[in-house]
């Protein structure tokens, strides 16, 4: 019963958070200076008719509270609206962007988790030895590098060896035949640099937290007991230390996965990766409110949902929570 209470409370909290995020998303961009019409109407041949037509078309001539109610009503019907800039349904535009983002960010993030947790374990295991120093300092360095700097360096270093922009060679398959396998290989090659940039940017955090958590766990009495029992180092680390040290990593992993749908704006910008991060960046510049509302709604839902799942995982991993 206590467990069910816990789950219901967390679920209620998650729903409330999503509603607050929806509301903030709506008002946040509207209180910023500037508006969509001034951006779209500042072009050659713009006429007062164009400005007026856009204002009416976007519904921006209505009071903000009415716009908000209409937004909530449409959202309840699953309608995210029409993009101001593209004049296309937000849901289909964002779905396309998400399809591009998810493989790249998933590979980068999962790679960072695997590399980070692995190097964290090794560092803690080899504490004070040269390999620990090298691993820790590298992790700190990559953690500290600005993403755009790292991305640009990789772009310059690997330019010519690997594709540096876009998601695939656009010409293959149009001006000549291309098999599906060749296309997948091509996408895979295009994916290497952005995913690697993300991996290098993220893994340091996992290394440092995993190392610290491991060291804390290695000082526990039960580890000393295991040693006294004559268990091998490898067995102690694998069976007793790592499993307990993973607990604080769970939240970080859940949060990182939650951010996958948000894309990696800077990485997508550097490598011209047509994902949701790039779309949101362009939408902010264009004051494309429906795209921003839709994009941030998806982001909010995924982060809240993954946090909720992390809470549930904690509940499973650490029964002390409900005690």
């Amino acid at each position: 019963v206590r467990g069910a209470d816990y789950v219901i409370r967390r679920a209620g909290f998650a729903l409330l958070t999503i509603f607050i995020a929806i509301t903030i998303n709506f008002f946040l961009f509207r209180v910023l200076p500037g508006n969509a019409v001034s951006d779209l109407a500042r072009v050659p041949h713009a006429t007062p008719q164009l400005r007026h037509a856009l204002t009416v078309e976007f519904g921006l001539n209505r009071p903000k509270w009415l716009q908000y109610l209409i937004y909530l009503r449409e959202l309840a019907h699953g309608n995210m609206g029409i993009s101001f800039a593209y004049q296309q349904p937000v849901s289909s535009l964002l779905l396309n962007d998400l399809k591009n983002t998810i493989p790249m960010v998933t590979i980068g993030t999962l790679g960072a988790i695997v590399v980070g947790v692995g190097t964290g374990i090794l560092s803690a295991w080899r504490r004070g030895r040269p390999s620990d120093h090298v691993s820790t300092n590298l992790a700190i360095a990559f953690y500290a590098f600005p993403t755009q700097f790292l991305g640009l360096m990789l772009l310059i270093l690997f330019g010519g060896l690997l594709p540096t922009s876009g998601m695939e060679n656009p010409y293959a398959g149009v001006f000549g035949p291309e098999s599906e396998i060749a296309r997948l290989q091509d996408i895979g090659l295009h994916l290497i640099l952005p995913a690697l940039t993300l991996l290098l940017t993220l893994y340091g955090e996992f290394t440092l937290i995993m190392r610290s958590s491991m060291l804390e766990t290695m000082g526990e009495d039960y580890v000393l007991t295991a040693r006294a029992k004559g268990l091998s180092d490898r067995r102690i680390i694998a069976r007793h230390v790592v499993r307990n040290a993973l607990l604080p990593i769970a939240t970080l992993i859940a949060l990182s996965i939650g951010w996958i749908v948000g894309g990696a704006i800077l990485i997508e910008f550097i490598f011209s990766w047509p994902g949701i991060g790039l779309a949101l960046w362009q939408s902010i510049n264009q004051r494309d409110y429906p795209m921003l509302q839709g994009g941030f709604l998806i982001l909010a839902i995924s982060v809240v949902l993954l946090n909720f799942l992390a809470d549930l995982a904690y509940f499973k991993l650490d029964p002390r929570i409900t005690q």
Partner: protein
């Protein structure tokens, strides 16, 4: 009775053909075929002409839809779908004779009737879904096609730049679009106008047809088999969109693209030349402006309304240093609101004022603004210290420009501070409150105007307050001249009036025109036959010359 006056004769068609072949190397046949891969950091935003804003959307329309006329390399209007044209004596009726027996790519006849249909349907919805094209069709009463090769356009008032406007109007295929021009026209803007999912190309009436389009990624074109004009040498071309210049330049170096245009930064020129690429530059129509609020209703820092202050600021602007440092020499000093590359519309008598801090100090002394103890002059009891609104378009070269101006202005007792904000916020800050332009002091921005000066002249009219005005300038005398020039059918008379308007703004200084940046583009030596233009470079929305002529070396 209206008496047609022949303005263009079939000789112009001969000129076009000669121009189309002038870039071919003499005596050697062109290498046929191949796909030209173009990189740009400015994506197509929509393939729908009633939604699109991007330069590259309009460049695409130029190549897939017929335009009645186009520009040649000398920026003169020459035939395209219309082979000749005439106007009535009073300028209210224009008659265009179009190419006979032309076809759309789907095999349907392409006639003057299609052009009339496009104009009339667009006019019907110009307060709503087609408002995007209302400027191009301004003052048209109605179009008709008495036969398949004759288009008659009737205007409500005489319009000076009819041909320039028609250059920007794409004839749309009624067999595709008619279904959306019904009822309230709600479908006109939401129609994506992209190749259908079945892999077929879009219906085209230009030399190429769009076969693939992925938003913010790429657009690919193949030769239109039913194109009625000279056959392009290439099999097709592609536009690949980059979100930043560094990636685009790297892609050129890595042989992922063959050509980059328009937004190639000056800092990349030397490296690209060293790497063996052909780098081409030409003065552009665009201009960088330092904007000073001249609105008489301005509520703060009203000393900026004093012409002596604005003159002093211009004397303290070291254009040569800006061009040398910020543009690495790839720009021309600015003077008037019509760039020298706009040919005879630019008044060459108006020269940039020379850089002179002594003269600037003298002017401010004359205005009675004494130097404060901290080196900043005092005007009406407050320091002459101003924020300069700075949108992202100006970053890079604009940052260097600002630093140079900031240093020089500090030497005459004026302090300026850079205020970064995005485009939308910048326009909001300039026009605040509620399009009254009462609070901003200064800004830096730019204009990339079309060839005909009408648009550039219009941005300083009162009618553009809250719309295209980024200065708040409003003067009924100037507006009167603007209205008059737009109706003058005699080019010499119109030119004289436009010179007068340039002089007017030159003296009033709502803008200090800093410089006219060059168009910079680069391409692989494997390709040749590019015709560079002061608008967008070789691949532009003014003509179809480059992609008809370009071929492998």
């Amino acid at each position: 009775m209206r008496v047609p006056k022949i303005l263009a004769v079939p000789l112009a068609a001969v000129t076009l053909i000669a121009l189309a072949s002038c870039s071919q190397s003499s005596g050697t046949p062109n290498a046929e075929g191949g796909v030209l891969r173009i990189g740009t950091s400015y994506p197509i935003d929509s393939m729908n002409p009633f939604v699109a804003q991007s330069d590259y959307s309009y460049m695409t329309f130029e190549y897939i839809y017929p335009q009645l006329v186009q520009y040649n390399a000398a920026l003169a209007i020459v035939p395209d779908f219309a082979t000749s044209w005439s106007q009535s004596k009073n300028g209210l009726t224009w008659t265009f004779h179009t190419v006979p027996n032309a076809k759309w790519s789907d095999g349907k006849p392409l006639t003057a009737g299609d052009a009339a249909w496009t104009i009339n349907e667009s006019l019907k919805y110009d307060n709503g879904p087609t408002a995007n094209s209302a400027g191009v069709l301004a003052h048209i009463a109605r179009a008709s096609a008495p036969n398949p090769t004759t288009l008659v356009i009737r205007y409500k008032v005489a319009v000076a730049d009819v041909l320039e406007q028609m250059q920007q109007m794409s004839v749309l295929p009624p067999q595709v679009w008619a279904q959306y021009f019904t009822g309230n026209g709600a479908g006109i803007k939401t129609f994506q106008n992209v190749p259908p999912a079945n892999g077929q190309p879009m219906v085209s009436g230009g030399p190429f047809e769009l076969v693939k389009y992925a938003v913010n990624q790429d657009a690919l074109f193949k030769r239109n088999p039913n194109w009625w004009g000279p056959k392009p040498h290439i099999d097709g071309f592609g536009l690949q969109f980059f979100s930043n210049d560094d990636a685009m330049i790297q892609a050129l170096k890595d042989n992922q693209v063959d050509f980059i245009g328009e937004y190639t930064p000056p800092t990349a020129v030397a490296a690209l030349k060293r790497a063996g690429f052909v780098v081409t530059t030409t003065p552009s129509l665009s201009m960088k402006t330092f904007i000073i609020n001249t609105n008489p209703h301005k509520t703060t820092h009203r000393e900026l309304l004093n012409p002596l202050v604005r003159e002093a600021i211009e004397y303290a602007t070291d254009r040569q240093q800006i061009i040398k440092t910020a543009w690495l020499g790839l720009a021309e000093p600015g003077s008037t609101i019509i760039a020298p590359s706009d040919g005879t519309w630019h008044d060459t008598n108006l020269q940039p004022v020379p850089f002179s801090l002594a003269k600037a100090n003298e002017l401010l002394d004359q205005a009675g603004y004494k130097m404060g103890s901290n080196g900043v002059r005092i005007a009406d009891g407050h320091p002459m210290s101003y924020n300069v609104i700075f949108p992202p378009d100006e970053r890079g070269t604009g940052d260097r420009t600002f630093e140079i101006m900031q240093t020089d202005l500090s030497k005459i007792g004026i302090q300026i501070t850079q205020q970064n904000m995005d485009d939308s916020a910048a326009f909001n800050a300039i026009s605040a409150p509620n399009s009254k332009y009462e609070t901003f002091d200064m800004a830096m921005w730019d204009w990339v105007p079309p060839v005909d000066p009408d648009f550039m002249l219009s941005v300083l009219t009162c009618a553009q307050l809250g719309n295209n005005s980024d200065s708040g300038y409003c003067n009924p005398a100037y507006d009167k001249m603007y209205a008059e020039q737009s109706t003058l059918l005699n080019p010499a008379a119109r030119r004289a009036l436009i010179f007068k308007m340039q002089q007017y703004i030159y003296n009033a200084r709502p803008y200090i025109i800093l410089d006219y940046p060059d168009v910079i583009e680069a391409h692989s030596k494997k390709w040749t036959g590019f015709t560079i233009s002061p608008v967008m470079g070789s691949i532009n929305s003014l003509s179809i010359q480059t992609l008809l002529n370009v071929h492998q070396s």
